[in-house]
Every structure is written in C-alpha cells, then in structure tokens.
Amino acid sequence: MSDNCGNLSVDFLAGFTIFIIAFIWVATMIPGLLIGLQAHNIDYDAVAYRTGVILVEDPGAAGKVIPGAPCYSGSDVSTVSGPWESQSDKCHIARFGLAVSKDTPGILDENKVNRFFCWTVSADPNDREKFSYPIDYQERAIFGDYPYRFNISLEVAGEERVRSIGDVIPDGNYGYIRRDVQIKGSSNATINKTIIQTKYWSKENVTTDVFTIHLNCTKLLGDIRHSPHQVDYRGYQIDPGLDNIIINITDLNTLHYPTSKTTTNLSSITINPGNMPLGAQYTYIDGNATPVGTLPSNVMSNISLVFPAGRVISDSMEVANPQLYITLTFKNTNPDPTINGTYGDWFLNSSMSGPFEYDYNMANVTQPQLQNGVLEVAVW
C-alpha cells in the first residue's frame, strides 16, 4: 500500500539545507585568501640582494658548477687553475664574483667586469667563452630552483654607455638592489722625454741600444702591504699575475743626437728569464690600432706594450719567478742621411743606468685608479 511517509524527514532536509548553504558561502570566500599569493613573487628582493652580495663582495670561483659533472666534449681538464675570468671555457667557472678579493668588498676588478658583461642571447654550443642569458648567469650568480629573469646594470664614471645584461625591466613587480662600487683599473708606465732624458739617454754612439724594464714581483706583491692597508692591499696592488701591465714609450723621435735621424729599428722584444721572444702580438707601434705583425720593425716615436692579465708571467714560461725583465733591442741600421757612414747616435738605453723599475713609484708608474660606479640588480 502507499502511504505518505517520505524517506527523508523534514527535519533532516532543513538541517542539511542550512549546512549546504553555509558550506557554499565559505567555499566562495576561500579564493579571496589566495589572491595575494604567488610563490616566487615574495622573494624577488631577497634574490636580488643575494645576487648583489655575490657580485660585489665575492671574488668568484673557478671550477665546475656541479662538481664532477662532465664538460662539453673535449674541454675537460683534471684540475682547473687560475682565476675564473681567465678560463677560456665557461664550463670551468663555478661562480661569478667581481670583487678583487674577499678582503676588498666593493672594489671590483676590471678584468672580471669585462668578462662578466660579455654575453649573448642565443646559446651557441660551440662558443665556450661568451655567456648566454639567462641560463649561464642563473647557474653561477642568481641560483635558486625557479628560473628568475633579471637585469644587471653597471654604470662607471667616465664611461658613456651603461653596461647591462638581461631583459628590459618590466613595469610591474620586481626585486631590486643598488650597490655603490669602485672599479680598480690597471697601472701603466709612460716613459716620456722627461724620464728618458734624465736617466735613460745613452750618449754613446752605439749601433745597438738595449732598454730593459724590470718587474720585481716580490717587491710588487710585498711592498703594498704596509699600514694601513694590511687587509685591503689588494685594492692598490700591482700583481703581474692578475693585472694588465701597460708600458708606453714615447718621444723616441726626439732622442736622436747629434744626427737628424727620425726612425730607428726595433729588432726584438724578449722576456727574461726564459729568453722568450715576445712575439709582436702585444706591441703597438706609432699609435697603430693593430699590433705590429712581426719584428723587426721601424719605429718613429711611440711603442706601446699592452700585456693582458697574467700574460707577462705566463709568457715568460716561469710561473712563479720573482724577477722579470722585458728587454727591447734597438738596432740603428739606418745610416744617418747627413753624416756619411755613421750609424750610431744617442738613443734610449738602460745599460748604464740600470733597468726601468715598474713599481709603486708614482713618478714613474701611474698607479691603478679607482673609478666610482653603480651596480643595479633587478630580479623578476
């Protein structure tokens, strides 16, 4: 028979309805809690700060990003030596860092800066030197699991262009840090008429003149560590193993006497010990933009020797030798046009007075300058 008893009581329906209405209401409130939440958004500033510290206060490290991982085929070596900016294969760079040393935070090394800002967007696997944005920088400076995009910019006083890596900074939310830094340049020695005529002007009529520049590495590394720079001496040090060495010899055409010659012949440049012929790849004659191809070569007035970082030591084949001598040999093979048969004349010569010392004497050598700069890191 049918009766009018239902399965569900009214009481149950009323209770269940109230419950469901409340549940739906709470469920619609929940997304409101999640509005401001995006996992990687929160730590943009922290990542930017960390990157800023790594770049400005750390000297970087050579080695492998993941120890033990193999490199691009053919470029694996058992031990990696030398600072990171001199590694030709980017697989041998473990971490970027622009500081001169860990005791000089805020003073950046110009070789590291130049190498760091050498980048490209497309990752050509055959180019082992240029870094590709963003992966190479993420592995070695940004770190973290999330692939952050970033922009690192450096403005140096006196330079027109701002150096920059990465994308254009977006309008929206990004983490930001700004660091004030100083960039240590390289020393150079300009040997001009005043210096030459005081000390290095040989008044003998010889046909071969020898001029020697002496780098006393022991003194160069040790003399700067005096008070008050026992800790931060690396900001002022001339280190032939790590810094550029630049030697300019000018006004050579004013030295000839009593003849009226205007050119001489630079026959060879050697580095001792080792007696290695320098090869003309570091020598620039008379203001030419390209190095002279081979020696001997005629010289009118200027010679510039520009040794990139560490080359003056590595080219001498003696890695740890404390005394280096760079010897320029000039042969007066051109006869004098006004005096018959005479080859010799007065010229640049250091045989009598002793070699030119490349050291911390400010009268002879321009010391490394510190240029002010601003480094900005933006991460998003």
Binding site: A14, P105, V181, Y236
Partner: protein
C-alpha cells in the same frame, strides 16, 4: 508518522553551519595585509646603500694618501661630506637622481672615558610620518683634538650617518 521520537538533523545542521562560518570569519580576519614597510625590505636596501657609500668615501685613492673621510673628519668639513655622500648615494644607472636624505655625526671617546658626539652634517627631519630611518656607521682612525677631550692624538672614531627617503 508523528511520534515522540526526536531528530537532531536541524540542530546539527545549524551547529555545523555555525562552526564553518566562525572559522571562515576568523581565518579571513587573521590574514593580515603586509604593507611594504612592514617587511623591512626598503630598510635593508637603504642600509646597504649607506654602508657602501661610507665604505667608498673611506677608501684611499692610492696606497700612500689618506682617505677622503679621514680628511673630512679631521677638518670637520661637513659641506664636503654632504656633497660627496649625496653624489654617491643618489646616483642611479637610469638618468635621474634618487631622493635620499641624510645627516651625519662623529662619535668619539672623551678623556673621562665617556662617549660624545659632534655633528658633522645637520639636516632637519620631520619626526612624524615618512619612512623609517636607518643608521650606518664607519670606523675611521684620525688625528684630531675634539672640544672636550684631552689632547691631539690618534684616535678611533665612529662616523654615523642617518638615512631616510623623503
């Protein structure tokens, strides 16, 4: 049909609804909105900037001369300090300057072993409103006689700079 047995469905439904609504209310109320100032991130950025700038002024230009900050403290040249510090701290890679204000003083030890300060650079700061101010300091060794100290001697002093954004 109708009998004396009771059921609790409605009451329990009410109870459950009340519990859920109370919880939701508490939760939504408790999630606070952090303003950027609460997170102290801008304080950290300002502090880093200030200590970088002070370190730069305290770096000698070469191995033999003294640092600009030593000269400034010894001659009490507040105007020079203001100019140099302002150029460094407000410099940006994009064109345009930042707007960071600062004031500086020098703390030293008196002859009776207490600490006193002299003002190096004064600037008025509105004490109400505005963002937090951050203090950075730098140690310098100078040869100077301060007003109420014993004599001219080499002493270690603390240059303290207060920075804030307008």
């Amino acid at each position: 049909m109708v009998n004396t047995e009771g059921q609790l469905y409605t009451i329990e439904g009410f109870a459950a609804a009340l519990i859920m609504l109370m919880t939701a209310y508490l939760v939504v109320n408790a999630t606070s909105i952090y303003t950027p100032g609460d997170t102290h991130i801008s304080d950290m950025q300002l502090e880093v900037l200030g200590s970088d700038a002070l370190a730069m002024i305290n770096t000698a230009p070469n191995g033999t001369s003294e640092s600009p900050l030593q000269t400034i403290v010894e001659t009490n040249d507040g105007a020079m300090f203001g100019q140099i510090f302002n150029n460094i701290v407000n410099n940006r890679t994009n064109p345009g300057q930042d707007h960071i204000q600062f004031m500086a003083n020098v703390s030293y030890v008196k002859s009776d072993n207490t600490v006193s300060s002299t003002t190096l650079l004064n600037k008025t700061r509105s004490l109400s409103g505005g963002e937090h101010a951050v203090r950075v300091s730098e140690w310098v060794i100078v040869e100077k006689k301060f007003p109420d100290s014993d004599s001219l001697r080499k002493r270690a002093v603390l240059v303290e700079v207060l920075l804030w954004r307008d």
